[in-house]
């Protein structure tokens, strides 16, 4: 069996189309291909790895632009694995963490970036912003000061530094920075707006008002200037300035009738003023401008309800809840939406539905309080800094309600294409690396790269077969089945895939599937006797002796009197309880070829059944001499050692087994049991917990874990597992004695 060839040439074509000759992705791709052709496989792999670093980095940028922050984090973390020293990638990863509001996680990559290059303004800037969001304003200030020293004209850094000062109630240095920005860029309304927002967010409401007034004075028609002014009146003086706020929103609408926030807030002002008829058209317009925003629907619901338009109220309130069911949104708005909906339903004569909504409202209000308490508790108990800081970006939309600022159609399409392109680049590079690793028999690693390739492009030619083959060769039979199943779905005539899958199922003791698949395989009359042997054995295991006989006949015709044939006969005898005949057949197998694998192993198993442990141990040892990698033989030898009270040797063997096969449930169980007997309770618990995790359906594993917990003084847990063991046993009894 061999692997499908490299697909990298097609990648080169792809890269050539999308990338300029100067682009490093293209350069690495070309270099990789050249090295591969030259037979410089290690160098080729280095280039492919560089392609991966580049590809993951670029894909991370695409995801970030698409606001898919969690995906961005994932791929950028991968990028840093392949190129740990790339400052650009580290900063991009930190930005992704920042955008995903995981500010604490943004710090380590930034520190690495700064460590590699102390003059990285970008890293210092992001550190400053991250510290800001974590509420560590002193550290934030220090980082931003450093960043500003490196790039003194950076508008964004200066602005954020001003904010950090304001957060520490240091008004003078903030004002000084903002003044220097005015000196540098001139007195513009957009700057005044930015400063006003900074003052507003930090609680300097009087100063914010002044800035917004200056913006209005500079340009009375500047977008949102009147809106910001109106909003700040409300924030500063509440109800007392409602008329002034309303007036500003009206002026804003004169210049910008389609401005969402002005429509929305003027609607709310009228709502507050109980001028329902004036509020409704404004809120309806806000709904038209931002149909996916739950907030205008919420307030429209109140207006409809107040004017007795209950069916409409019910409709928009349901819409509001559906659009944003997130409890934390807008101070738990959804809880109130359920209440209002309940009230409208009562008025509409739908008492039963109303009661459900009222109940939901009560539960959500309760949850909201719990959240507030937990948040506060966390801050107090852990002495953490407040982490709900706002960092009003200069170009960002109003923070109170997220404006829909998704990319335009063309940009979205470009990003989508980029996502597809870089995914293919990554998939192909993983595939190439996997092929190189498989060529040098590093099947486990090859399997991992094939899996990664499949994640990014499952349609890559030959991928599923290669992946299955590598997994099979790595003895990762469970991992082999899925890609091979997919390969057969796409290409049902692929006999090699069918054979591999059949053999994998055999190793997984799924004899029915093995028989089904390998019956198809031998129909093509392959020359490999092993296939017949495996099929015959599966059929024997299934109890289909006649079918097995037919396969054995074919096997004899094909291969003559082979050791495998006698192994088969031995297994058949053993299955019928005729152990001495089984042992005779195994001896015959050895007489034909004393180095035939598995003969000693099977002999050992027969001796275990007969209770002849010393003989069994000898056989397992012989098998291991012929085949030191036979994990089953080693496990059984360990088992026999333990049974013979040779605890130290048994434990040693089982630990070796688990090093090779850490998911071997029975090995964990036997090891845990032995450790428990030895009095090593802590390690016993650890192994038995793993055994339970790997084989939760086995009552004896729970029983031993229960005992171990009790020995460790963990009474409640111990009793729980003993009870589980009892229940599983009872279930087993029911299944065996229906």
């Amino acid at each position: 069996m061999r692997y499908f060839p490299s697909t990298f040439f097609s990648l080169l074509l792809l890269v050539s189309v999308f990338q300029s000759p100067q682009d490093s992705l293209r350069q690495h791709s070309e270099a990789a291909e050249a090295q591969r052709r030259a037979g410089e496989l290690a160098a080729a792999e280095r280039e492919y790895t560089a392609v991966l670093a580049e590809g993951y980095g670029k894909l991370g940028k695409v995801y970030s632009a698409e606001k898919k922050y969690q995906q961005a984090i994932e791929v950028l973390e991968s990028a840093t694995l392949y190129r740990p020293d790339s400052q650009e990638t580290l900063i991009d990863l930190a930005i992704a963490y920042f955008d995903a509001e995981q500010y604490e996680k943004a710090l380590p990559p930034l520190r690495r970036a700064v460590s590699a290059n102390p003059q990285s303004a970008g890293a210092h800037h992001m550190l400053g912003k991250s510290y800001f969001m974590l509420g560590d304003f002193a550290s934030s200030t220090a980082e931003l000061q450093t960043a500003l020293k490196i790039t003194p004209n950076d508008y964004d850094i200066a602005y954020t530094l001003g904010l950090a000062y304001l957060k520490q109630r240091q008004f003078a240095p903030a004002k000084q920075i903002y003044q220097s920005m005015l000196n540098q860029f001139g007195d513009r309304p957009q700057l005044r707006i930015v400063f006003g927002r900074a003052y507003r967010e930090t609680g300097f409401l009087a100063e914010a008002l002044e800035e917004f007034k200056k913006a209005v004075a500079l340009d009375p028609h500047f977008p949102r200037a009147h809106y910001y002014l109106g909003l700040t009146y409300l924030l500063k003086d509440g109800a007392a300035r409602l008329p002034d706020a309303g007036q500003e929103f009206k002026i804003e609408l004169e210049s910008h009738p389609e401005e969402f926030f002005a429509n929305y807030y003027l609607g709310i002002v009228y709502l507050i003023d109980r001028k329902w008829d004036l509020a409704i058209p404004l809120l309806e317009k806000a709904v038209r401008i931002q149909p996916a925003n739950s907030d205008p629907y919420f307030h429209l619901g109140q207006a409809y309800q107040a004017t007795g338009r209950y069916p409409e109220a019910i409709e928009v309130l349901r819409k509001s809840i559906a659009l944003n069911p997130e409890l934390s949104h807008n101070d738990y708005q959804v809880a109130t939406a359920h209440y209002r909906l309940g009230q409208s339903l009562i008025k509409n004569g739908q008492r039963e539905a109303a009661d459900k909504e009222l109940q939901q409202a009560a539960e959500l209000k309760s949850k909201s309080l719990k959240r507030d308490k937990e948040e506060n508790e966390l801050l107090n108990v852990a002495n953490l800094r407040e982490q709900n800081n706002k960092l009003p970006e200069m170009g960002a939309s109003e923070g109170v309600i997220a404006e829909s600022n998704s990319p335009d159609v063309r940009t979205a399409a470009d990003l989508q294409n980029g996502e597809l392109y870089y995914s293919k680049v990554i998939a192909t590079a993983h595939n190439e690396i996997a092929l190189l690793r498989a060529d040098r028999a590093d099947f486990k690693s090859a399997t991992e790269h094939f899996a990664l390739a499949a994640r990014w492009d499952s349609q890559l030619q030959g991928l599923n077969f290669n992946w299955g083959l590598a997994a099979f060769k790595a003895e990762m039979y469970k991992d082999a089945t899925s890609p091979l199943e997919k390969e057969l779905l796409a290409n049902s005539e692929n006999i090699q895939a069918k054979q591999l899958l059949g053999l994998s199922y055999f190793m997984l003791e799924n004899y029915a599937k093995t028989s089904e698949l390998l019956s198809d395989v031998i129909a093509a009359k392959p020359a490999n006797v092993g296939v017949y042997y495996t099929l015959a054995l599966s059929l024997i295991k299934e109890g289909k002796k006649e079918s097995a006989d037919r396969v054995i006949q074919q096997m004899v015709v094909l291969g003559g009197n082979t050791p495998e044939l006698h192994i088969l006969f031995a297994q058949a005898y053993e299955g019928e309880g005729e152990t001495s005949k089984a042992l005779e057949e195994l001896q015959l197998a050895l007489s034909l070829n004393s180095k035939t694998l598995m003969v000693h192993y099977y002999s050992g198993l027969v001796y275990v059944k007969l209770g002849k442990l010393a003989e069994a141990a000898k056989e397992f040892e012989s098998e291991l001499t012929l085949n030191p990698g036979n994990v089953q033989a080693k496990y059984n030898l360990g088992f026999v050692m333990l049974a013979e009270q040779n605890t130290a040797a048994g434990i040693k063997l089982l630990r070796e087994v688990l090093q090779v096969k850490p998911d071997f449930a029975d090995a964990h169980y036997e090891l845990g049991k032995a450790l428990l007997q030895k009095g090593d309770i802590k390690d016993a618990v650890a192994d038995l917990e793993l055994a339970v995790k790997l084989a939760p359906e086995k009552p004896y594993v729970h029983y031993q874990l229960g005992r171990a917990y009790l020995a460790a003084g963990r009474k409640t847990e111990g009793e729980i597992h003993l009870e589980i063991s009892r229940q599983l046993k009872a279930k087993e009894r029911l299944q065996t004695n229906p």
């Binding site: 609680g203 509440g238 003023d273 109980r274 109130t336 009560a362 209000k365 309080l369 506060n376």
Partner: protein, 572 residues
């Protein structure tokens, strides 16, 4: 106390409500409230820290009007608090009991009565828990509460430990209530925040520690709440905590303040209402089997008409529209309106605050003590609300009080400014208690102001109209007749009221019920529905007198008001 803004502008906007001022139906202009504090000899000054860095320094104190020595005159008990600094310095303050001398003056009898040292006091409720004919005092505190048993000899004995009603948490409201109609007063206590003076929230730091951009004390939202307590009276001087069994323990820890107990759905069983700060209010419906079901949301009283929980503080009940059902009023935090819930019957309520024209005026104010009472004896209950902010950092810290005059058409007009200088003064009111201190037929008011002197406001001129005071004495029911519902018919006026222990804000008003009857000279009918189920009816009673009705015996005494001409009826 309040719903803080933080950065949630929508919350602000959702709460702010404006409206055009209502049309005024002017009350009788000759009525005014005179501040007689000093001349009456009341020198009590409530203690609190000037900065109020912690929420616990903003929430005290209650006041009680009750006749502890049964001499026929209401005495005054004013609850005092402490500060964090005083606690650390191990210093004390004194709550004071003033004896009414019956001549417009009062005497400080605190020491003799033994009621001065109560720790960090919050509020007070009155009830004769042992049915010995003398009213006892329950004082809520930060820390263990106090049950002070009236010895009948001018002094009180602290029986808290024996009675088992200490509740060591931060208690606020309290009410004696016979929830199982066994004739013995049980006790409900609302608790506020799980507050530890040794682990104080940092001033101005955190989401709930900012108000309109200004650093302020933290809470209550976000702080751990404390559950509530219901103590069953065993009849032997001890109580059993049945909170959990009864379903009123408040496991979620809502911030309980004002409490009032009443038969909200008129099924013959008393229910319990808790005004919760910054969280939905509770209305516990009495199932009649020792348990309650919380029906706040279903009844419409948990939140306001917008569906928002409010910063509920004080609470009172009154039939403002003469539909023979008690309506519910709650005072609230600023940028939020005080809420009037109309009783639609069968346990259902509608927020009519704006329609009743009591909402808009209240927006910039923080309301506390409040009570429906008929200050001008026109037979329609008016409403007094005591105001004052919690943040001394604000310019609006001190605030004037409201009197909403009942326009007799379902609306009110705020007329405080017309009722004397005391209503123009800006203070930081908290508890307020109402009662006819001078037995002259009109209702006077005593206010406990945070960090300042108390005020005794004498109603002058309210008795230009006629009225009657009704004192209830239970026999099978508890001796105070707490929970008794009284109907008074005088000509075309039919009024109802109920005897309540603890209402307003952490305070106790006169247990005698006052009914103004305008110019009527005769009460056609007084009907008392006792908690036991018994009904007493008295017909043809003269006005301007105190009428005592005993369960099963009807009228047992009458006494004319002072300085007011009595009309039809037996001479005094």
């Amino acid at each position: 106390m309040f719903l803080k803004l933080g950065t949630g502008l929508l919350t602000l906007l959702g709460l702010l409500l404006f409206s055009v001022a209502g049309q005024t139906k002017a009350p009788a202009t000759e009525i005014h409230f005179t501040d007689i504090t000093e001349q009456a000899g009341i020198s009590f000054k409530h203690v609190s820290s000037p900065e109020k860095k912690y929420i616990v320094e903003s929430m005290s104190g209650g006041v009680a009007l009750f006749d502890y020595d049964n001499d026929g005159y209401l005495d005054i008990y004013l609850v005092n608090s402490l500060t964090v600094d005083l606690v650390r310095a191990k210093q004390k303050t004194r709550s004071l009991l003033y004896h009414n001398n019956g001549d417009g003056t009062f005497s400080d009898v605190t020491d003799k009565a033994g009621v001065g040292d109560i720790g960090w006091g919050m509020g007070v409720a009155i009830g004769d828990y042992d049915n010995d004919g003398f009213d006892d005092i329950y004082i809520t505190c930060l820390g263990p509460n106090h049950l002070l048993r009236n010895t009948g000899k001018g002094s009180f004995t602290d029986v808290t430990q024996r009675a088992g009603v200490a509740d060591p948490r931060w208690s606020a409201g309290a009410s004696f209530v016979d929830y199982d109609n066994d004739g013995k007063l049980d006790l409900f206590v609302s608790n506020y925040v799980d507050f530890d003076v040794n682990a104080l929230p940092e001033f101005g730091k955190g989401r709930s520690c900012q108000f309109k951009g200004i650093p302020v004390q933290c809470g209550p939202r976000g702080l751990k709440g404390a559950g509530d307590s219901l103590y069953h009276n065993n009849g032997d001087g001890t109580f059993t905590d049945v909170s959990k069994k009864a379903g009123v323990a408040d496991p979620d820890g809502y911030y309980g303040l004002g409490v009032i107990c009443s038969d909200f759905d008129e099924d013959g069983l008393v229910d319990i209402f808790v005004a919760n700060d910054s969280t939905p209010n509770f209305l516990y419906h009495n199932n009649g089997d020792g348990t309650f079901k919380e029906i706040g949301f279903a009844s419409g009283t948990a939140v306001n008409e917008n569906g928002s929980e409010q910063g509920s503080m004080g609470v009172t009940l009154g039939d403002y529209d003469h539909d023979q059902k008690l309506d519910l009023f709650i005072s609230n935090f600023d940028d939020d309106y005080n809420t009037l819930y109309h009783n639609d019957g069968k346990g259902s309520y509608t927020d009519v605050s704006y329609a009743a024209k009591i909402a808009a005026v209240s927006l910039p104010y923080v309301g506390w003590g409040a009570k429906f009472f008929d200050y001008d004896n026109d037979g329609w209950v008016d409403l007094l609300v005591v105001n004052g902010h919690v943040y001394p950092q604000l310019p609006t810290y001190r605030q004037r009080n409201f009197v909403h005059h009942n326009n007799q058409d379902g609306t009110f007009t705020e007329v405080g400014a017309q009722l004397g200088a005391s209503f123009a003064e800006k203070r930081t009111g908290r508890g307020a208690a109402f009662g006819d201190l001078d037995n002259d037929g009109d209702v006077d008011v005593v206010i406990n102001n945070l960090d300042g002197p108390a005020q005794v406001l004498r109603n002058d001129g309210g008795n230009v109209n006629n009225s009657i005071l009704i004192k209830t004495i239970g026999v099978k029911s508890n001796s105070d007749g707490i929970g008794a519902r009284v109907k008074v018919v005088a000509g075309s006026l039919t009024q109802i009221d109920e005897v309540h222990s603890g209402d307003s804000y952490l305070s106790q008003s006169d247990l005698r019920l006052h009914f103004g009857v305008e110019k009527a000279t005769k009460i056609d009918l007084v009907e008392v529905h006792w908690p036991s189920g018994a009904v007493d009816k008295v017909a043809g009673v003269g006005v301007n007198r105190i009428l005592t009705i005993k369960e099963g015996q009807g009228e047992v005494a009458q006494k004319n008001f002072k300085n007011v001409v009595p009309t039809v009826g037996k001479p005094n």
